[in-house]
Structures are given as C-alpha cells and as structure tokens.
C-alpha cells in the first residue's frame, strides 16, 4: 500500500532533507514548521520517535532554517500536524524500513524477526550489536520518499497520543530562551521610526532633538521615508525612537478615519463582489424571512514580547535571525527588496513570544536586514517598541456579516444567505506578488502596491470566508463576499481569520431561529445536522454543562459550534455568564473531536488558550482610530482578559484514534465567541450582535431592544 504524499513531501521529497543520524546517538529532525508557542516541535518529535523507535530525547530539531530545513510554507492555519506531521510520519516509517531491510539482508533473516528498541536493532529479542548510527553510512537516505512504508497503528504508539512535556519549556522558565536574548559581542542596536500610516512622507525630522534625547552617541540612517537609529547601547536607541515620534513631521498618505471598522464604514467601502451558490431551491412565497447583521471590529495580535530580529551582512552574504512564520518566503522577499540574490541570504528561525497570526516578525526582520546591509560587519539587533506593535503591526480584519433565512413550515431554513463585508485576511510576504514588508514600503524606490489584492482562496480555507458556509443541512446556501480591497488599514491573518465573525454570526443566528421556532437551541441544531462527529461534540458539551447550576439570577448558558475551516477539528463550547452591567464569563465547557491527538495535554493547552483568547476578544477587544492612527498605543488603552477574569474551563476530547489528526490550534475561537454571545443574549433577554460585548454595547442594546428583522418572502 502506498500512502498519498502530503504536500510537504512532494515539495521536499528526499528522506535526508528530514532525517539524519548524528554523532552521539542523536537524530537530526528537520522541519519547515516553527515553534510559536503552540508546542509543535514536541508533537513532531513524538511522531518521529514512534515511527523510528527512538526516544524523544535523542532528537535535535532543526526548525525553520533556510539552509537546512525542508521548505514547508508558513506555520499557520492549524496545518502543522496534518501536513508536516504526516510528512514526518511517512519519512520516518520509510527510514525505519530501509534500515530494517539492510539488517535483514546482512543477517539473512526475515524482516519479521527484527525489532528496534531506542534505535538499536534486535533479532528475536536479542541485541544485534547494530543501531541506526552504526549503519548510517550503509543506508543511503539521499533518495525520494515513496510513501510505501508501513506506518504504525495507534495500538503501537508509545509516544503519540501521550502527554509528553514540552521540550522547550524548561529553558523558558529559567532564563534566556528567546530571540530577544541573543546578544552577540559585536551587537549594534537599532530602532526604527515608523510612518504614522501608509503612504505618509517624512517632511522633517528634528535630529538634534532626537540625538539630545538619546543621551549617548547615535547614528541616524535615513532612506526615503525609512529611518533607523543605531547605537552600541540599547538604551540610547530606545530613547531616540521615543523622542523621534514627536520630532517627525509627516505629510500625505491615507490615514484611516475614526469610524474605520464600523459596520456602516465597512458597507461603504468599494468592494469586489462574488456570489457562490450551493444546493438548490428557494423558500416558497409567503414564507417567513429572518435577517440579522453581526460584526467584529479590527483586532490586534498583542504578543507580550515585541518583535525582534538580528541580521549580519558580511562578504556579500546576509544572515537573518527571526521569529517569522515563513522563513523561505521571507528570504525571497528580502532578496527582492534589498537587491540581493536569494542564495546569498540565510534565514534562521529563533523563538519569539506567542504568535497568533501574521504579526510584525517579518517587518522586524526586514528592519534588521536593511540596517545590516548599510552597516556591514556588525550584528544588528532590532526590537520593536510596544507603541509600534499597537500602531504599525498588521491588524485582524473587521467584518460585517449579514444572515438571511427563508424558513419552511417547520421553521427550518429552506434558503440561506450569508453576506460578508471584509478587508483581506492575509498579506504575508509574497502574497499578492508583493513584499508586504513595512520598512520596504517606506523606501522611495518601493514597488507600487499591487493592482489586485486577493484574500485566501476558499479552497485553502478562505480568509473572510473561513467558516462562512455553515455545516448545517441547508438545501440552498448562498455566499455573497464583498472583498474590500482598498482600505487604509493593513490587515492580515489573525488566529481563525474570518471564522471568528462568521461562526459568531451563524451560531447567534441559529439561536435566534431556534427561539423563533420555540425550540431548544441544542435540539434545533441537531435537527439540522447529519454529520455524526458534529452531533457528538454538541451533545457532549451540552451534557457537560447540564450539571452546572444555572438558576442564579443573571446567569445563563449559551452554545457555539463549528468545525474549523469545515475540515479541521470539531468543537462545541458551552459558556456560562453572569451579566449585570458587564459580562462576567464564569465557566466554559468544550467538547473537541480532533481525530488522533498527538499530545493530549498540548492539545488541551491549545484549546484552553484559544478559549481565553476568544473570550478576551469577544468581551473586550477592538481597535479604534484617532488622528489617523490606532488610538491605543499601550495596554492601558487596549485591555485584554486578566487573571481575575478568566473562566474555569473543562475540556473533553472525543476519542478518535483511528481518524486522521485534525488541526486544532484555531478551533476554539469561533465556537467560544458564539457561546458567549448566546449566553449573554439569554441572560439579558436581548441580543448583542456587534463584538465586543462591552458594557457600552449592553447599555445601548438595552435601550434599543431590537430583534432580528422578520417578514414574509414575496
């Protein structure tokens, strides 16, 4: 039997691109995927260890290094286990089989007589004296993977499906472990001056004031509208960049207006429209029609550590250290924007603070690389300021989502339309044929913006359209996508992309329809859901929550469900809230079906984190604009959920060890937001359709008290 090759293996077919047996009984495991706080390296080592039969401690991970790692695109979209994991599984199974065949030939014995224990070959249970390392010169791994080796069955796993502790955590709780902590002797510190908005031109910079504020000698490097301050002492450039914000005068460009992100604003923007019909039939004339519009605002990533990068330019070769999610794309676009041949650039991933989407990591890498090419011979270290993280990093896109259902006689949707207004959800380096690197855009010789901007295609999971298609049994489904391609806000991928608003809207709407039908929201959903795995998570979450005391005044529960991207993990969440003037999220129960789970505790950690992050977004977060810029420049202006506000969380995974692993890192976002929205609606007796569900919104909605718009179809 031959296994279908995952894309990563088609792109990087040679076995030795992935696995090598190194001195000291080590196994070099190379992956294009990178650790961004999600525990992926531990999970990949578990898969490799099981297929090779070696202890996980033997692995040396080579992750996201352009000279040495397989090119696997971006670490994004909850794809790493499904794609890189699948490749590593096939590669390791094949390597194991090649070695076993070699040993069988040498010993003239049957393959079935051989086993492997922590890398040592045994025949009939007795050590043969050989191991992977003693035979590694006899077995040639410089050959393409065929996918033909037999992979292990779940009953044979000793690492996969077990909760191994994270390999990277010990270093992170004792001392230096991050890219921020790399401190070469020849370091030259740099800070950048960022444009206030896209297209702004630098008219004047009071360098005297900046130098005075620095308190120590600095150099000022200026090309076009890009300015860098450099010094031997980091404190000098920190002070310089803080002073420079007030010392710079800008002109032109496209500052975003104060209402950017509001539903009315979104619906006013020029759009490229697209209609996708699925199924057939329309509701009969005279049937009941229900409509409601939901929305989310722009959101920021808010990594606790600001972006950081190092770069060194020596003898025409550029080395860059970065916490980018895509080192190969970054290398290619550094080459284009800095006019260097790509083969002269090496990009090395080093771990940064948590990454919840396309943040400013690539921009920081460009900044460091740019300065390094101007100050050859020094290792340049750039760190972003907290203020720039708020005002210059990409934002998660605001969205308006309008749902319309024509109901049949049983109050089930016969005709369903989802209409979405949204800027694009992905502008990573290379997308739309452009660099998408902030510093490069500020150079006067920068390439013009692309004529056409596209969002993530539906086939790749969609951007604004991610989870736009409800998983319910709907006879006719229409998607209307208004792609807002020309907005003065730099948007890109934030955890879950469009799923956050779409699942919130769809699941809120389902509760509204159930209420109109006078039915229980769980029963109403199940009557429209034939996928057994979907039914199971909903039933499980409802059962978990049913034991809680929901009788207290102002307390209520709500349900949210989705299968992420309609092809990754299934999750149903039940949220319990108490609402007075503000929403207090007290409990969340979650049921998840992620197929085979590589590391159950790691998976639970991702789901818990997703729940808390989604709760923070849904209850508190929105980016507002003032004077053409993001209004909040510090955490005080952009509150996130704190320790005293986090709910207690119970998670249950549906056992499905014979199903393929399903990506789960982003699975919790939509269902959690929806569950909170439905719980709040039930507690208040009126529905809030605009995220976040803040105190102000509650007060406004209580005064307005509007139900969904209902009528009769013509």
């Amino acid at each position: 039997m031959t296994n279908a090759l995952p894309q990563s293996l088609i792109d990087n077919p040679r076995l030795d691109q992935w696995i090598a047996f190194a001195e000291g009984g080590r196994v070099r495991l190379a992956t294009g995927k990178v650790e961004i706080g999600q525990g992926v390296l531990t999970a990949l080592a578990q898969i490799a260890g099981d297929e090779l039969d070696v202890a996980v401690e033997r692995f040396v991970l080579v992750s996201g290094e352009t000279p040495a790692s397989p090119a696997e695109g971006f670490t994004s979209g909850s794809n790493s286990i499904a794609v890189s994991g699948a490749a590593i599984r096939l590669v390791c199974a094949e390597v194991r089989e090649l070695f076993l065949r070699h040993v069988a030939e040498q010993l003239a014995c049957a393959l079935g007589d051989l086993t492997i224990a922590d890398g040592r070959f045994r025949r009939g249970g007795r050590d043969t004296g050989d191991d992977y390392w003693s035979l590694c010169h006899a077995v040639d791994l410089a050959r393409p993977a065929t996918g033909s080796a037999v992979i292990k069955q779940p009953s044979d796993y000793s690492l996969v499906a077990h909760s191994l502790p994270r390999l990277d955590l010990p270093a992170k709780i004792t001392g230096a472990a991050f890219i921020h902590d790399i401190a070469p002797d020849d370091v030259l510190h740099a800070r950048m001056l960022r444009r206030p908005w896209r297209g702004a031109r630098l008219v004047a910079l009071d360098e005297t004031a900046v130098r005075r504020a620095a308190g120590a000698p600095i150099d000022v490097l200026r090309e076009g509208d890009l300015v860098a301050f450099t010094a031997d002492q980091e404190i000098a450039v920190m002070r310089a960049s803080a002073a420079a914000r007030a010392a710079a005068v800008w002109d032109g460009g496209a500052p975003p207006p104060a209402d950017a992100g509001d539903t009315d604003w979104l619906m006013r923007q020029p759009a490229r429209d697209r209609v996708v019909d699925t199924g057939s039939g329309e509701g009969a004339a005279g049937n009941r029609v229900v409509e409601a519009t939901y929305s989310r605002r722009f959101l920021t990533y808010g990594s606790i550590g600001p972006s950081c990068a190092l770069a060194e330019f020596r003898d025409g070769a550029l080395k860059v250290w970065t916490h980018s999610q895509g080192v190969f794309a970054l290398r290619q676009w550094l080459a284009r924007t800095l006019d260097l041949p790509p083969e002269r650039i090496s990009v090395f991933h080093r771990q940064g603070a948590g990454c919840y989407g396309h943040n400013s990591a690539d921009d920081a890498a460009f900044d460091a690389a740019f300065v390094a090419t101007r100050v050859a011979g020094r290792t340049v270290r750039v760190q972003w300021t907290r203020e720039d993280e708020f005002t210059a990093a990409p934002l998660g896109a605001a969205m308006a989502v309008k749902l319309r259902a024509v109901l049949d006689a049983d109050m089930r949707p016969a005709d369903w339309t989802i209409e979405i207004w949204s800027p694009v959800h992905a502008q990573r380096p290379g997308m739309n044929g452009t660099a998408n690197l902030l510093g490069a855009e500020a150079l006067r010789r920068a390439a013009p913006p692309p004529e056409r901007i596209d969002d993530v295609p539906d086939a790749a999971g969609g951007g604004a359209t991610r989870n736009a298609q409800a998983l319910y049994d709907l006879p006719h489904h229409r998607l209307v996508h208004h792609l807002l391609a020309d907005v003065p806000v730099r948007t890109s991928s934030l955890r879950g992309l469009g799923a956050y608003a779409n699942v919130f809207a769809i699941e809120s709407f389902m509760d509204e329809l159930a209420e109109l039908a006078g039915e229980d929201p769980v029963a109403y959903r199940l009557s429209l859901l034939s996928d057994p795995r979907a039914r199971r998570v909903i039933e499980t979450a409802a059962e978990m929550a049913s034991r809680a005391d929901a009788t207290r005044a102002g307390r209520a529960q709500g349900l949210g469900f989705a299968r992420y991207k309609n092809r990754a993990a299934y999750m149903a969440a039940m949220a319990e809230v108490e609402v007075n003037e503000e929403v207090r999220l007290t409990r969340v129960w979650a049921a998840v079906d992620a197929g085979l789970v590589i590391n159950p505790d790691g998976a639970a950690n991702q789901i818990e984190g997703g729940i808390i992050q989604a709760a923070s977004w849904a209850l508190k977060e929105q980016v507002r604009f003032a004077d053409g810029q993001v209004a909040a420049t510090t955490w005080n202006g952009y509150p996130i959920l704190r320790f005293s506000e986090v709910p207690e969380i119970d998670i249950r995974f549906i056992a499905a060890p014979h199903e393929a692993p399903l990506g789960l890192g982003e699975a919790a976002i939509g269902p959690t937001a929806a569950a909170i929205g439905n719980a709040v609606a039930r507690a208040l007796g009126v529905r809030l359709r605009d995220l976040p569900l803040t105190r102000d919104r509650i007060m406004m909605t209580l005064l307005r008290e509007d139900g969904p718009v209902t009528g009769r179809s013509p």
Partner: protein, 157 residues
C-alpha cells in the same frame, strides 16, 4: 557614569552605568541576566517583574540609581544550586506555559505571594497575578501551578 552597588540574587554587584538607565536594561545588558523580559517598557504587562527587597516590582522603567543598597531577585535567583524552585517545578508539572514569555515575571510575583500566603485560593492567586498579562491563555494552568507549589512548600516546612 555612576557607580551603583546593590545585592543581586544574593550577591553584591557593582555597576558603572548611566544612573537613569532602567533596572531591566542593566540586568539584561550590563549584567547579562536575560530571564527578566522586556514587554512594554511602561509598567503595564509584568514581563519584567523582579523582587526588590522582597516585593514584586516592575524593572522596565525604574532607574538604576533607585536601587543603590537594595536587594534584587530575578528569575535566575529563584533556583538554588542548580535545583529548580518549587514554583518552576510546578510550572513544568502543570505545563503552565505556551510561549513562555510572560512566565519569568509571573514566577516572581508568585514567589512573593507564597511567602505571604502558604496555600492561596484561586482568587488569591488571580489577585496576586492580576498585573501580569498572558496572551496565550495559560492563566488556569498557572493558577494551578502556583497552588501546587504552595502545597509542596508548605509540606516541606
């Protein structure tokens, strides 16, 4: 340049530096202790938390000249003779981290809490850590880890 002397992780240190430089910069740059992290530089996130005379304090905006003669403990000072502090051990046992960037500061506030309150409730831990931001959503694991460490330390006494 000013000469400043203080006690760092149990040992006297002497630095000659710009007296207005923040303690965090001195720790990371002058003294090479990089476990305390820069998060915001504005005393708003807690990633830079250290103990000053036993009390949790932000180090990112506090001028080094204020530290003369004081006692400072950083995350590097929590472990003794290479052995992890019970809090660090408990964080590993609970896998209380995702990216880990906020953890060193949180360990510091948690250590101060357990000095005062041997077996804190969930609400007490949350209150003691409320100045700390965690973006990955590891709060519940962190609370459990602090309670676990408290129980271990109380049992040893």
């Amino acid at each position: 340049m000013t000469a400043i002397e203080f006690i760092l992780n149990g040992r006297p240190v002497h630095v000659d530096t710009d007296s207005t430089k923040p303690l965090l910069s001195v720790l990371r740059e002058d003294l090479g202790l990089r476990g305390s992290r820069f998060g915001c530089g504005l005393e708003q996130c807690g990633a830079c938390m250290v103990l000053i005379d036993g009390e949790p304090a932000y180090s990112c905006a506090r001028a080094i000249e204020m530290l003369a003669g004081r006692t400072v403990i950083t995350v590097e000072g929590l472990s003794r003779d290479g052995a992890l502090h019970p809090l660090q051990q408990a964080f590993l046992e609970e896998q209380a981290g995702q990216c880990g960037y906020c953890v060193s500061g949180i360990l510091i506030s948690a250590a101060a809490l357990l000095e005062r309150t041997a077996k804190p409730s969930r609400a007490e831990v949350a209150a003691a850590l409320d100045r700390h931001l965690c973006r990955c959503g590891v709060h519940n694991r962190i609370i459990r880890a602090v309670q676990r460490a408290g129980a271990v330390m109380a049992a040893r006494k």
